[in-house]
């Protein structure tokens, strides 16, 4: 069976005045239908640009050169016309971001924004129908007083509330793929855990595949079926989450895990910025 998302040898470079800088050096990654896959790495390792390439946002930038293939449902997204590609956003695939409050337009009420999302799939949906659909979607993310929330502006809601609204919006059109770029990093830990729990239940119900991007190993361990560890634009280790966490083989993965704060630890180890061992070939867990 073809995987839902198949990334093959993805390379990205930026042309600058001083020459070309390669940022991704051949990433390969696949996600099956309904699977939750985590992409873990430190800041600047290439997690977010990978996500943005999938959505086709980087390609629109001047000076960015993307090579390799991104296949959704066996269809090469690079070969699609910009228009067809645009048609997939918000319907077949969608994305949620770190800071839920800034991801919502501050001067428009929630219902207005929800309706625009629903209209992607169902152009010209009436306000009443959008209200009903939105209220139902908000029920799913455990928002009880949907009427009040729909009539509010984002700044009138808490961060956790906005995060749940974002998740409800992202899943409203039943996308096949949800890219979650460090969701909830801007929220406090308890709220973050709550919403992630909710999200996990929802994507399981809808059979949505998730590419979960994070630097938070604890969250990844809870959330993902499979984990890819990325370092400086290369995947260094991949495999089922349990296997990767139980037996990290690549020197970088080990270093990353030892940098995880623990209750019993005396302090954090000092991880070198670069280490020749981090360039070791990729470790693949079966």
């Amino acid at each position: 069976m073809t995987p839902l998302l198949d990334i093959r040898d993805l390379r990205l470079s930026f042309r600058l005045w001083s020459g070309t800088v390669e940022v991704l050096h051949g990433i390969s990654l696949s996600i099956a239908r309904g699977e939750r896959v985590a992409l873990v790495g430190e800041s600047g390792s290439g997690k977010s640009v990978t996500a943005r390439i999938i959505l086709g946002l980087i390609q629109a930038m001047r000076g960015a050169r993307v090579s390799g293939q991104v296949l959704l449902d066996g269809q090469d997204l690079g070969l699609l016309s910009p228009r067809a590609r645009h048609g997939l956003r918000g319907t077949a695939m969608t994305m949620i971001f770190q800071d839920p409050t800034s991801s919502l337009n501050p001067v428009l009420p929630i219902l207005h924004q929800f309706r625009e999302v629903l209209a992607r799939k169902e152009p010209g949906i009436s306000v009443a129908a959008a209200h009903d659909r939105a209220a139902a979607a908000l029920q799913e993310v455990a928002i009880a007083d949907a009427d009040r929330v729909l009539g509010s502006y984002p700044f009138q809601l808490s961060g956790g509330m906005n995060q749940r609204v974002m998740i409800a919006m992202a899943l409203a059109n039943r996308p096949k793929l949800l890219v979650a770029d460090e969701p909830g990093t801007a929220l406090d830990v308890t709220v973050q855990a709550q919403t992630l729990d909710l999200m996990r239940g929802l994507v399981a119900d809808h059979g949505t595949a998730v590419l979960f991007i994070s630097h938070n190993l604890g969250v990844v361990r809870e959330f993902a079926d499979r984990t890819f560890v990325i370092y400086r634009g290369r995947i260094v280790e991949q495999g089922p989450t349990a296997a990767v966490f139980a037996d990290p083989r690549h020197p970088y993965t080990r270093a990353l895990m030892s940098a995880q704060p623990r209750l019993t630890a005396v302090g954090l180890p000092d991880i070198p910025e670069r280490d020749p061992a981090f360039g070791d070939p990729m470790e693949v867990h079966p």
Binding site: H86, G87, T91, T94, M95, F97, T101, N105, L108, V179
Partner: protein, 273 residues
């Protein structure tokens, strides 16, 4: 309303603007001599100083100055409304396009606005009116031509800031069109700044329009216009002082009122960008 009480200057501005607007709208009812707005000659009562019958005096051909000022407000407000109604949509649309699309659009449009902004506004309007006939319509065209670049620049700057906001990226990944993002997502965030600037500008348009007609461009006699009335009356200073002082005060009241309201808007809407 509470905001107005807390901010007495804004209240003064609102009263002044309301007075000007009402005076213009109800000129037919208020004016003691409605027919004096046209080419009427009454040599019996010419050059009369302010009195009970003519509270602002009469001009050199005996027309009541107060009546003419009321009708002149109509022209001034019409000018402000028409100029802003044309300049703002053009300026805003170009600013959104330049700010959001960037690249060549930004380069082309912003250099064009720079060129317009580099020409002193009055000189630009004068040269346009020098080529075309000095009529009310052409006066509006001339003032509009010098006005839109300010809106382009204002909206361009706001758009550049808003473009980096999360909701724009979120709209992009949801598949919103560029048109949608510009006009339905970013534009609503520009409204506070636009409302403030438009209120302030209403006063400045009146001032510029009066300057043009002071120089003899724009509205032509016998239609009453504050600028041309000041110009006309200035020739008889200081003996017939009322001929220029009252139209001048009329300009002051209108511009001052709009300025106070504009400042109040800035405080209320927080559009301080």
């Amino acid at each position: 309303m509470l905001i107005l009480v807390a901010n007495p200057l804004t209240l003064v501005g609102v009263v002044l603007v309301a007075t000007v607007v009402l005076a213009a709208l109800l000129a037919d009812l208020i004016a003691p001599f409605p027919d004096h707005r046209g080419a009427v000659v009454d040599f019996v009562n010419f050059n009369k100083p302010p009195s009970v019958a003519y509270i602002m005096g009469t001009d050199v051909v005996g027309r009541d100055l107060f009546s003419r000022i009321l009708y002149a407000y109509r022209i001034s407000l019409l000018m402000a409304v028409v100029v802003l109604a044309i300049a703002v949509p053009i300026g805003v649309a170009l600013g959104l396009v330049a700010g959001y699309l960037g690249g060549r659009w930004e380069y082309g449009l912003m250099r064009l606005t720079d060129i317009f902004l580099a020409i002193p506004p009055l000189v630009l309007a004068l040269s346009i009116l020098g080529v075309m006939k000095p009529t009310l319509l052409n006066g509006m065209i001339a003032v509009t031509a010098m006005w839109w670049p300010w809106y382009t620049r204002l909206v361009y700057n706001i758009t550049r800031g808003e473009k980096a906001e999360g909701y724009v990226l979120a709209a992009e990944v949801t598949g919103a069109s560029r048109f949608h993002i510009m006009f339905r997502e970013i534009l609503p965030n520009c409204i506070p700044a636009l409302v403030t600037k438009m209120t302030l500008d209403a006063g400045f348009v009146i001032l510029i329009a009066s300057s043009l007609s002071f120089l003899g461009l724009g509205v032509q006699a016998p239609t009453p216009d504050l600028g041309s009335m000041v110009a006309e009356g200035a020739r008889y200073l200081p003996d017939q002082w009322w001929l220029s002082v009252f139209p001048g005060l009329a300009i002051l009241v209108a511009v001052f009122g709009f300025n106070l309201v504009g400042d109040g808007m800035r405080d209320i809407l927080g559009g301080d960008r």
